[in-house]
């Protein structure tokens, strides 16, 4: 058995209290670049209070299919972002994953890739899934590189799914199969 399923080299995954989540969520949401890299919905600005209410309502729902975690730095425990599985089709062993780092001064330093590695190990070893997929916006090359490093393969482009800043952008879909992930584990020893 792996010692700590939730710990990687740079980060670990954890659950946080609603107050903590509300604080960081409402701060991150005001960074429209962060928001528009993550979400196709138009950014809106909720109060911290509204964020907290929404978070608490989500936490009250049935948690058996909820695999969402906050990403914490190992050295000082700072909250950097979140990572979550969604659209989990248990009977097919298929899921999608979403990740976002709200702390922009930590972009491009390997934190996201490390968190994704932890989540992939969790998906394949603890949940015993067959594949993990994701969608990423064409205008987010940093994320695309991170996903490639984690082992995701491109699976196609959904054309023109967003119109932002006066032009159309595609959604890229990527996926990694269990066999591919196992192969990567063997290669890295």
């Amino acid at each position: 058995m792996t010692d700590n399923l939730f710990r990687g080299q740079l980060v670990h995954l954890a659950a946080d209290e609603p107050e903590v989540l509300a604080k960081v969520s409402s701060r991150w949401a005001q960074d429209s670049e962060y928001f528009r890299l993550l979400d196709s919905e138009p950014p809106i600005l909720w109060s911290e209070k509204k964020h907290k209410e929404w978070i608490e309502k989500e936490l009250e729902k049935d948690s058996s299919d909820n695999f969402g975690f906050m990403i914490h730095k190992n050295d000082d425990n700072a909250v950097l972002g979140f990572i979550a599985l969604f659209a989990l089709n248990w009977n097919h062993g298929d899921t999608l994953v979403a990740i976002a780092l709200g702390e922009r001064d930590h972009w491009g330093k390997g934190y996201g890739t490390d968190a994704m590695r932890i989540m992939l190990r969790y998906a394949f070893q603890e949940l015993n899934l067959h594949r993990v997929g994701l969608l990423v916006f064409e205008y987010n090359p940093r994320a695309i590189r991170s996903y490639e490093k984690a082992g995701f393969q491109p699976e196609g482009r959904i054309r023109g799914m967003m119109r932002r800043e006066g032009r159309r952008w595609d959604w890229l879909m990527m996926g990694i199969l269990r066999s591919e992930w196992l192969q990567l584990q063997q290669e890295s020893g």
Partner: protein, 188 residues
């Protein structure tokens, strides 16, 4: 896969609360059926009472339970129910339960046929790795049926039930995906 839900003698269905209420009420008056089926104390239910219960059930939606009713292929009679209860998805495992309320269908292969259909559903539609069940020591007819369907004995809990003044064991059985794949095609 048109026959995912059909076997040789029975098919699996969804039923209206009104239809079920009438059948369940009648079956609950058969204490032998009841005591083979459940460890809950023998009770009796009115049609109205059961219908109200079933209508409440409609409100609940479960992604971890797959419950069906059993109808004969020959003349579409409602004879019982069968279901996968509490799928533990990450382990690919579930318990199965079955009951034939219409006693004239006992010991004639209907239960075994329904069990074969639900096992195929578990292994090919839900892609599970294993199906478990438990059965009372005083139900040898069921034990034989489960053996025919491919289940293996795995152990028993001693003196689990107290009925008619003596203790009875609870027998545990299980079938793995590879056990099921190894069965002859006509038994799947």
């Amino acid at each position: 896969m048109a026959d995912l839900l059909s076997g040789k003698l029975v098919r699996l269905t969804a039923e209206e609360p009104k239809t079920l209420a009438e059948a369940y009420s009648r079956w609950s008056h058969d204490s032998e059926y009841w005591r083979l089926e459940t460890s809950d104390c023998a009770r009796q239910f009115s049609v109205w009472g059961i219908q109200k219960e079933l209508e409440k059930e409609l409100e609940k939606e479960s992604e971890n339970n797959f419950f069906f009713h059993i109808r004969t292929l020959a003349d579409d009679r409602l004879i019982g129910n069968v279901g996968l209860d509490g799928v533990r998805w990450q382990h690919g495992e579930s318990f199965v339960g079955i009951g034939l309320g219409e006693r004239e269908f006992w010991g004639r292969g209907y239960g075994t046929d329904a069990m074969r259909v639900i096992l195929r559903y578990a292994f090919q539609e839900l892609n599970l790795r294993r199906v478990s069940l438990d059965v009372f020591e005083y139900n040898p007819r069921a034990v034989r049926s489960y053996e025919k369907a491919g289940f293996r004995h795995e152990g028993y809990a001693r003196g689990y039930l107290l009925r008619e003044g003596r203790r009875w064991d609870l027998i545990f059985m299980g079938i793995l995906r590879q056990d099921w794949l190894a069965l002859p095609t006509e038994d799947r």
